[in-house]
Amino acid sequence: MFDQLDALLLARIQFAFTVSFHFFFPAFSIGLASYLAVLEGLWLKTGKQVYLDLFKYWLKIFAIAFAMGVVSGIVMSYQFGTNWSVFSDVAGPVIGPLMAYEVLTAFFLEAGFLGVMLFGMNKVGRKLHYTATLMVALGTFVSAFWILSVNSWMQTPVGHIIGENGQLLPGGSWWDIVFNPSFPYRLVHTVMAAYLTTAFVVGGVGAWHLLKERKDGTANPHARKMFSMAMWMAAIVTPAQIFAGDLHGLNTLEHQPAKVMAMEGHFDSHPEGAPLILFGIPDSEEKTVKYAIEIPKASSLILKHDLNAPMDGLDTIPDDEEPPVGMVFWSFRIMVGIGFAMLGIGLWSLYGRARKRLYDMPWLHRAAVLMAPSGFAAVLAGWITTEVGRQPYVIYGLLRTADAASPLDAPAVAASLLAFIIVYFTVFGIGVWYILRLMSKTPHSGEPDAMEGDSGPIRTAGITPGPTQNPGHDEPLPAHKEDV
């Protein structure tokens, strides 16, 4: 009923599904952890209540996103073995240690300090609590460092030798392996993407409450503050990200030219300068881009900085080494399109700021609400570009995806895939719904703490442990606890 190909395809779909779902959470929590650290730092520095309120407002959202990231991440750490056992055996000696370092230096750091960050505000002094927040933020970054090193090594493998039993073994310098050629570019591009993703979520939530403010007619300093902070990020980080993305593209051209050919839709070689295809419909059967709208020689200008530079096309690549063109071509355009839309929002906000009307521009606010989830779409599109673009290899040039899977039968993989789809959509769908519900609440002075339910505080929130406190009373939180 099923043949090998089906089991392989199902395993690929399962990995793509679980990793895409998983990455939404770190893409958000890497940026949010840093944002929380900034908010708490500003509160400690200025003593302004608004920063503490925003910290507590976003901390509740962070707690849910982080929990979803943890549980979907554990799935990833086991899926290499369950579904890609040949890959695990072959690549384990090289990438296994990098992933072990991720656990040792990042996961423990995040998890160890998360409890204090979420629940420890009244248990430890301010500075210690701030240290916990910083450690969690640092942990999210260190985690990104190692996992992107692993991913980059799979894209641009160096520093290995091939063992007698077919395993890839570390060949000498671990420095070369960790800092492989595409790693610095991928790290910068991905971390900035996470910051932008978070900034646009924060900006969108701020804008949503500014629109409500407009309706209510009362100024909301919390919404203004978060919108303003997010728009600074949009205005400053987006141009930097576009620049970093360009450098990353040039790096890919050097190391994985076939991926760039697919991104550009260059089926044919162009000895006298390649056109930039803006839009069109790639047809892999006929090896052409139909209805192409193109700018002559612009691709050569962007990629080689020379109008007449010759560019190879997919006609120079053997058919069985070509990535699927359509998916790479489209996902790349979606990512770039969103990037420029983000830039537009950033510039628009600068214009508003210069005219001192940032909080009084309903169309900017509406656009920001619309753009709130755009970071997730861009991140996903970017990952599709780079992961589909390196096919048919899982370790570029060394191990084909088709040769990497576990010896599982199709029904087993089909069953697990179905279970993942049902559980992820249900559980994470509900989690996202809870997050949206928290976001729809107007941020206000005296934000409640993390573990209080939506129907008012479940437990009381005094400074001193008081055995006689009455659960369910509605006293707002004290602003802070004095250092001890």
């Binding site: 707690a63 849910i64 929990a67 979803m68 943890v70 549980v71 799935v75 750490s77 086991y78 369950t82 579904n83 056992s85 040949v86 055996d89 384990g92 000696p93 296994g96 240690p97 072990a100 991720e102 656990v103 040792l104 230096t105 996961f107 423990f108 750091l109 995040e110 160890g112 300090f113 409890g115 979420l118 629940f119 420890g120 505000m121 009244n122 248990k123 039993n165 073994l169 570390p170 000498g172 671990w174 576990s406 010896p407 039968d409 087993a412 279970a419 989690g431 809870y434 573990m451 339910g453 939506d454 129907s455 479940i458 437990r459 009381t460 929130a461 442990p465 008081g466 055995p467 406190q469």
Partner: protein
């Protein structure tokens, strides 16, 4: 000193740390339906909310460490126990999100409490059955799993699964004795005594089954000279079990929990005696599966530097939330 042996001990330590630390979290999940709705459940949950994530990280270290230090074992064991691993992962998804969701949605708290229970039970059972599947032996040909798809489902693996469920319930209930007071503590004592008896009976049953399961295991436990090394393990286990039951009966505060950990330690020693030097019985030794020396050294440096720090700040986090859980809870 043989690096492979060092790594075998590091992985064993990570697995032991996981089993004990997430064991009491999962155990509380398994016992959750018997805990009174309302304040009782809130307190039980709050006693682990700040630490569960750190506890679960040891599972990632166990898996990730196995991948890094013994890639062949990782590449064989996981496909061989595929349905169990998937079930465990999905179980952990449900119980992990329940920590947050039950506070966010009081209207559906009963549902998330049930998810917390179901997820914990499934994860514990799957972990125990995976251990059983490993102990009963995995068929390997050409560096790849070569058994059939239901090898993991036998009376023996089911027995191991139940043993782990009972053991986790023991850890969870003794933790609750330590962290709760009043009627809730009394209830925890009631549970602990029953979980202790179930754990001891199932540990004994699995140990006996081992001897019939595999001639090599039997040799190891029953013939000289191995018996001189092996015999102290069951004797130690028995002594620990008795003093633990005493401690529960005498209404001691933290002692039952520490003795439950000691019981797990004795069990782990027994497991070590049984399996050594195989990482995938009956054919793959730790040396067959080991990563090359360069990988082992590179990681050992990381472990040597980070492990004392990890243990330090984890201990600090536990210290911050020390003492009985009170109504003020954690904010």
């Amino acid at each position: 000193m043989d690096l492979t042996v060092i790594w075998a001990f590091i992985i064993a330590f990570a697995v032991f740390a996981y089993v004990v630390m997430d064991g009491f979290d999962l155990g509380i999940g398994i016992l959750f339906p018997t805990v009174r709705v309302g304040q009782g459940r809130d307190r039980a949950m709050n006693s682990i909310a700040p630490v569960w994530d750190g506890n679960e990280t040891w599972l990632v270290l166990g898996g990730g460490g196995l991948f890094a230090a013994f890639p062949l074992a990782y590449a064989v064991i996981l496909p061989a126990t595929y349905p169990l691993i998937i079930a465990m992962l999905l179980g952990l998804v449900f119980r992990g999100v329940a920590f947050e969701y039950r506070w966010r949605d009081p209207g559906h708290r009963a549902f998330w409490d049930a998810a917390f229970f179901g997820g914990s039970l499934v994860a514990a059972m799957a972990q125990g059955m995976t251990l059983g599947a490993l102990l009963q032996g995995i068929e390997v040909v050409d560096r790849s799993y070569a058994g059939s798809w239901f090898d993991w489902l036998t009376p023996y693996t089911l027995l191991c699964g139940l043993g782990v469920v009972a053991g986790y319930a023991l850890l969870g209930s003794t933790w609750l004795i330590w962290k709760l007071d009043g009627g809730a503590q009394k209830h925890a004592r009631y549970l602990a005594l029953r979980a202790a008896i179930a754990t001891i009976v199932l540990m004994g049953a699995v140990s006996l089954y081992n001897i019939f399961l595999n001639a090599e295991y039997a040799d190891r436990w029953l013939t000289a000279p191995e018996i001189y090394f092996a015999a102290p393990v069951p004797i130690l286990t028995g002594l620990v079990a008795l003093s633990m039951i005493q401690a529960i009966r005498k209404e001691r505060n933290s002692k039952p929990f520490w003795l439950a950990i000691a019981l797990f330690f004795a069990g782990t020693l027994g497991l070590g005696v049984t399996m050594w030097p195989y990482v995938v019985p009956p054919g793959v030794t730790i040396w067959d599966a080991a990563a090359p020396e360069s990988s082992q050294i590179f990681m050992l440096v990381g472990v040597a530097i980070t492990m004392p720090l990890i243990i330090g700040y984890t201990a600090w986090a536990y210290w911050v939330f020390r003492g009985k859980v009170d109504d003020e809870g954690y904010h």
